[in-house]
């Protein structure tokens, strides 16, 4: 249900990245505007390098690291975040 049609075959959604792996943000367009702004405020933008830390219990939030800070977002939103595995 979190899957979304990803245009570029090299891209994937953040939610599909395994904990411990790195990825680079490609596009945030599919995320709701309010959340997108908050992510940008926190310094998560196109080109940012992320490391997925862990997935929360029972489909709970996904935690990732970006520029030394830990951020949690819902898995559904993570499914809308286009990234390229690095």
């Amino acid at each position: 249900m979190y899957q979304r049609k990803i245009s570029n075959s090299r891209c994937s959604a953040l939610v599909h990245i395994k904990p411990g792996a790195f990825a680079t943000v490609q596009a945030l367009d599919a995320i709701s505007p309010l959340l997108r702004r908050r992510l940008r405020d926190l310094g998560v933008a196109e080109g940012s390098r992320l490391k997925v830390l862990r997935l929360g219990p029972f489909g709970g939030p996904l935690t990732f690291e970006c520029a030394g800070q830990h951020i949690g977002i819902r898995r559904e939103d993570a499914g809308r975040m286009e990234v390229a595995p690095a």
Partner: protein
């Protein structure tokens, strides 16, 4: 007097710095959104005043509490800015800094948490930063007070940057729009630079626009905004002006950081990651949270609190009231006065004060959790549950604050992005068992459930939370549909709370309780004592014929099905609306007992364990106290929602108590 405004990202230590600079102690927490309203303090040395504003990432407001800060720049008379920058997150923090620089006010930058940055192998050169930005930059460690005197000193000699100050070129299209807007704004007296106002308008800052509403030509403004968008698109940048502004600023920040920041690629905060691997574990996380809660209650009630409480009771009911009796006797007071002071005031206030140790310990432990950084993890663990009932995981922070006092908890709901989330949280916070209800639980649990007090009290807390979640589901399905909830949380690195700041935070909270005891609880006790001693036939009537008995008795018929149809219980519930502690005061006065042991004996005779349990559950839920009603009214700005919150809690309390009492009787409890 000089006025300074403290700006910075959330959770960068603004409030710590505020405390260091002003001698007053505000609550410091380790999560975003502790400060929800601007506050003013006087600087040490009385050289000026400083305003602590809610943390924000950019001047474009997203939540209610961020709007306070953006409006401040529009409306306040020229104030200097003290901008606090987290040295461990320079890129993100400088975004706000650039926007503040554009306002053209005198500004000082406090480069905070240089110690945290060092641990993460990040070093920021204040000299280079100062050169790049054109305003003084001072390295500080606000939490420990390092560098704060320098800041205080530098604030005194702060001057406006002048025309050669910081300026960012946004390209021909935007610059044209800015100069057009400046012409439009020319006639307006404004406290910030016109260029800043113009840029904020181009960026779409609603707070700035609202502040100017009616004073400028809205159509002219809109046409300039559209024109700028078109020109920007023609220049090949896309038509979104705010995205363009952000991009230009971000590029500049990247250039500044290349010059001023040095990083090494070693692994960072491994300790936090290791702790998180356990505390936010997908299976262990929630059980560990519950275990932690249980430990807190065990410490509060079983291990430490009750013992100290007994000592305090011995002092109040023994020595203190002995002295007062002797003093009254010496002054030649009549038995009536003697009864008023000893039975009414000392009995009523003392009966509540006895539970001071439990309250101190609970506050100390809550302060510890707040300051350690665990709070943000709790929101992470609870989000799935909260989402399922239609709330943001962030609503959990007001809920936790609500365990201390519901009033600030409702104010904390402002940090939520959506109106629906805010309203739902405001309505549900009163179900969180605040510390005022603690004396009631402590009294009843001590009498009826002595061997597992912690478990019973924790059960009540959990019951409140479970009901809040169930009602959130109900309300979000029926009354408050629309807007999906939003969740994003920053997880700060764990840190060991400083003992001194822990004690301070606890003391500030305990002071609130003591103040309450000296004011509203005392006054309530006097009123209750008079009501219990006067009747239609005058003073000194038998208590069963008193006004209090007839007031309480009016309710007893209604309360009989839920197990406590006595006038005493009815009277305690009515007076408890003022403040929940007053329930204990009322019982103390009604049963006219000299000490806790006596009251426990009386209560044990008046209630069966099942009735007692039904009674404390009813107390937990039945109504938000008067102060909370006031704040609900203020925050929702609607009497309808205010009455709704009182009404639903009464119905809920009755239903739950009915199920407990009738169900319990049916199963076979007495």
């Amino acid at each position: 007097m000089n006025q300074f405004a403290l700006f910075g990202n959330p959770n960068t230590g603004k409030t710590s710095l505020f405390n260091m600079l002003t001698r007053s102690y505000e609550t410091v927490g380790n999560w975003s959104g502790v400060t929800v309203e601007k506050r003013i303090g006087t600087l040490r040395g009385r050289s000026g005043r400083i305003v602590d504003l809610p943390g924000l990432y950019s001047l474009l407001p997203l939540t209610e509490d961020e709007g306070v800060a953006a409006r401040f720049l529009m409306e306040e008379t020229p104030a200097s800015i003290l901008n606090i920058v987290d040295a461990s997150q320079p890129e993100r923090n400088l975004y706000l800094t650039l926007q503040l620089l554009e306002s053209g006010r005198p500004m000082l930058i406090g480069l905070n948490m240089i110690d945290v940055a060092r641990n993460r192998h990040i070093s920021v050169d204040p000299q280079v930063l100062q050169r790049e930005l054109g305003v003084p930059v001072l390295p500080i460690i606000a939490r420990k007070g390092t560098g704060c005197t320098d800041v205080l000193h530098a604030l005194g000699s702060l001057t406006a940057p002048g025309s050669e100050g910081f300026r960012l070129d946004y390209g021909p299209a935007v610059e044209q729009g800015v100069s057009d807007l400046c012409i439009l704004l020319r006639t307006l007296p404004s406290s910030s630079a016109p260029r800043w106002t113009a840029l904020q308008l181009l960026e779409g800052n609603e707070a700035v626009r609202t502040a100017l509403a009616g004073r400028i030509d809205g159509e002219a403004l809109d046409s300039i905004l559209q024109q700028t968008g078109r020109e920007l698109e023609a220049a090949g940048f896309g038509c979104d002006v705010s995205a363009h502004l952000r991009q230009v600023r971000t590029q500049r920040i990247a250039r500044i950081c290349t010059a001023a920041v040095q990083r090494s690629d070693q692994a960072v905060h491994t300790a936090t990651e290791r702790i998180d691997a356990i505390l936010t574990h997908r299976i262990l996380g929630i059980p560990l949270f519950l275990a932690m809660m249980f430990l807190i209650f065990k410490l509060t009630f079983d291990w430490v609190g009750s013992l100290l409480s007994d000592v305090l009771d011995g002092f109040i009911s023994g020595m203190l009231s002995g002295w007062i009796s002797a003093a009254l006797g010496g002054l030649g007071a009549s038995p009536f006065t003697h009864a008023l002071v000893v039975d009414g005031i000392v009995g009523g206030v003392g009966g509540v004060l006895v539970f001071l140790p439990q309250i101190c310990i609970l506050f100390l432990l809550i302060s510890f959790v707040e300051d350690s950084g665990y709070m943000a993890r709790i929101t992470l663990l609870m989000d799935r549950t909260m989402e399922a009932v239609g709330l943001s995981g962030k609503a959990f922070i007001p809920f936790i604050i609500g365990f201390g006092c519901n009033v600030p908890a409702i104010m904390a709901a402002r940090t939520m992005e959506h109106r629906k989330d805010r309203l739902l949280t405001t309505l549900l916070v009163p179900l969180m068992s605040c510390s005022a209800r603690l004396p009631v639980y402590a009294l009843f649990a001590g009498v009826f459930f002595a061997s597992n007090q912690a478990l019973v009290v924790m059960g009540l807390y959990v019951l409140g939370m479970v009901l809040a979640l169930a009602l959130a589901k109900l309300f979000s399905r029926t009354l408050l549909r629309s807007e999906p909830s939003l969740f994003i949380v920053e997880l700060p690195p764990y840190r060991m709370p400083q003992p001194l700041s822990l004690l301070r935070m606890t003391w500030e909270k305990v002071k609130g309780f003591l103040r309450k005891a000296g004011t509203i609880i005392l006054a309530g006790s006097v009123v209750i004592w008079f009501l219990s001693n006067t009747g239609s036939s005058g003073f000194g009537v038998d208590m069963n014929d008193s006004f209090l008995a007839s007031i309480g008795g009016a309710l007893s018929g209604l309360l009989a099905p839920i197990g406590f149809g006595t006038w005493q219980a009815g009277a305690a519930l009515i007076t408890g609306f003022m403040a929940k502690e007053v329930v204990v005061s009322t019982m103390n006065i009604i049963y006219q007992v000299p000490d806790m042991a006596g009251l426990e004996h009386q209560v044990a005779a008046a209630f069966t364990p099942l009735q007692a349990f039904s009674f404390v559950t009813f107390i937990l839920l039945y109504i938000p106290c008067l102060a909370t009603v006031g704040v609900i009214r203020k925050e929702t700005a609607s009497w309808r929602w205010t009455f709704f919150s009182m009404g639903y809690s009464l119905v809920l309390a009755y239903a739950v108590a009915l199920v407990i009492y009738q169900g319990g009787k049916w199963i076979g409890f007495a």
